[in-house]
Amino acid sequence: MTGAKAAREPTYRDALREALREALAADERVFLMGEDVGRYGGAFGVSLGLLDEFGPDRVRDTPLSESAFVGAGVGAAIAGLRPIVEVMTVNFSLLALDQILNNAATLLHMSGGQVAVPLVIRMTTGAGRQLAAQHSHSLEGWYAHIPGIRVLAPATLDDARYMLAPALADPDPVVIFEHGSLYNVTGTPDPGAAPVDLDSAAVRRAGSDVTLITHGGSLGKALEAAERLATDSIEAEVVDLRTLRPLDDATALASVARTHRAVVIDEGWRTAGLSAEVAARIAEQGFYDLDAPVERVCGAEVPVPYARQLEEAALPQVAGIVAAARRAVG
């Protein structure tokens, strides 16, 4: 490292690091492991400095072997430790899917309630940085399909900072998805904030005409769309799901009961995706409150392309969200 760090506003990355530091300091059973988390500081710089502070036992570099180290996390958790496993990106997590689904999510049930797995897995998700088809997918909706795990998608600095402690306190596996486009987002986490209630979605903006339901990397776009709609006197309410499993549909439904219109925004693919689940629940439980078909703004059904104009076309964008909201409002 050359030169002194310039002072600057904290980023989402800093908030995640602060949460890790707090967790490591608070409980000696907690340790962090993953590819390049130690000496390198994390592929995306999240764990920078933690090795110096906590040593190589608690900040462990692993070989490139997702199945092995995620499985080791499962075992360590069963044995009473509180591992935090970092998988570099969600695309690489597929190499560990067997361990996550067939072990972490299943052991408690399969053992008749004997073997709990208090494991936290962190990974980067999402597109928008021209990283092409093997580093850009949003598969958190897939994970939300799995019973036995909790799935979190912190979209704000506060959630990045205050979701980890309750995730570690959860007796069951928790998978946390950090959207790659958020790491450099700046802000100031509320210093006095309490741990996030992991069972609750958050209303990020109040409105009366249409509900925009989203999570993670699309939250900023939804809020921007809401601002743009406001100039046309359309007041959009923005719901950040933030916990994708178990899904707090009550918050979204209460909002739709007020606004009578819903737009679901999900960077993941449309077919059989998370947006389909949200839309189905609105149809099941909020049918008589609807005054327009549920709109969905999703990632195009294509492996994410490299070229900038194609990638942008493949992802939900503000203009598309605005158009969907206008269609819903009529």
Binding site: M1, T2, G3, A4, K5, A6, R8, T11, R13, G41, F44, G45, L48, R129, Q130, L131, G180, S181, Y183, N184, E224, A257, H260, R270, F287, Y288, D289, L290, D291, A292, P293, E295, R296, A300, R308, Q309, E312, A313, Q317, V318, A319, G320, A323, R327, G330
Partner: protein, 450 residues
Amino acid sequence: MAEFTMPALGADMTEGTLLEWLVHPGDRVARGDIVAVVDTAKAAIEVECFETGTVERLLVEPGATVPVGAAMAVIDTVKSAPEPAPGLAPEPARAGGPGATPLVRHLAEDSGVDLAAVHGTGPGGRITRADVVAAVPGKWTGKRQVAPRRPATGAQALPSGSRVRATPLARRVAAEAGLDLATVTGTGTDGAVRVSDVRAVIGTASPPTPPPTPPAPSPESAQTRAAADRQQAMRRAVGDLMARSKREIPHYYLSTTVGLSPAIDWLRARNRQLPVSKRLVPAALLLKAAALAAREVPQLNGFWTDGGFVRAPAVHLGVAVALRGGGLVAPAIHDAADLSPAELMARLRDLVTRARAGRLRGSETTDPTITVTSLGDQGVEAVFGVIYPPQVALVGLGRVVERPWAVDGMLGVRPVVTATLSADHRASDGATGARYLAALDRLLQKPEEL
């Protein structure tokens, strides 16, 4: 001369902070030399220059954060070849603002946007990618990218004549108001009726507190059982009343067909100038005519009690309302003959809503002096009903249909309605009944006077 600019050092880097200069003005630099250290929010990175020459001057102080592509230093490039034409030199930083990153410049170029005309919303007024995209509506984001094989929402115009397209909420509110959705003009996609259209017709600007959503029918729930009990009781009460009516009242029946061309034409002309909420439907005229005819023929407007007919002082028009899940009530619209068609319509809606919600006032259930039953919306052409004791007459109205119709020896296709009368032979006879139907017909030919 060449510029040393803030390099792009990562997939998500838009700006960097200069930590330190490793060169000073006057220093010789060669292509590939490390000249500065930049903080990219991920780490401090040594950056190289791509020119060979002498550092002319440094434009940025350590600690400053500048966007990718911004000039940080000027390098005097020693070249044996003549300098390239000035037009080939990299664009100097924009005066009066930090300008835009190369990415944004490319985007602007690709999209044919003149950056000079774009308002920057980025830090320090910098033009961001979003600003450029906003300046090209539809270029990258807004327009539909591909024609899908099928519309994504499945929203297609239904063949005409099929069921009304309406949103669930609109259906719910319309049903509570007793409003026939077919009479509502939809403003939604493909003419779908939305709740605002319904509320415009009902005239409630603000939504009432929504009642709890009816529970999904699970066969064994207590609520379902209670509802079933209520229905059975209602069925029994209606059955008892009608049995008594048929046992005790010697009915006679008359029928006539009334031409509705003037009424429908007048309605159409009137409605054209009115907002949706003020528009009338044919039923309003029919009710008004039925009430006026009852005033003209008072022998049909009243009660049979204690073996004699008692004429009623006013026309309280009973309207038969079918309840959800079966059953029937026929509450009164008080002083119906004195109301305008528009007032009648509003009263009718209010009555239907409250009847179906089980919130009728006592007087409404006991006061009717003559009752109208209309099964037109069920597609029935003629209704021969059973009189509600102690009333002595019941008017039946069928559907408004188009029929070949002769007027003054000329045949045309006209809208007509079949009006029937069931009357108590103890209180009147056929001639009286015929006068009633004739009056009804006459009144409907002058809709403007109703």
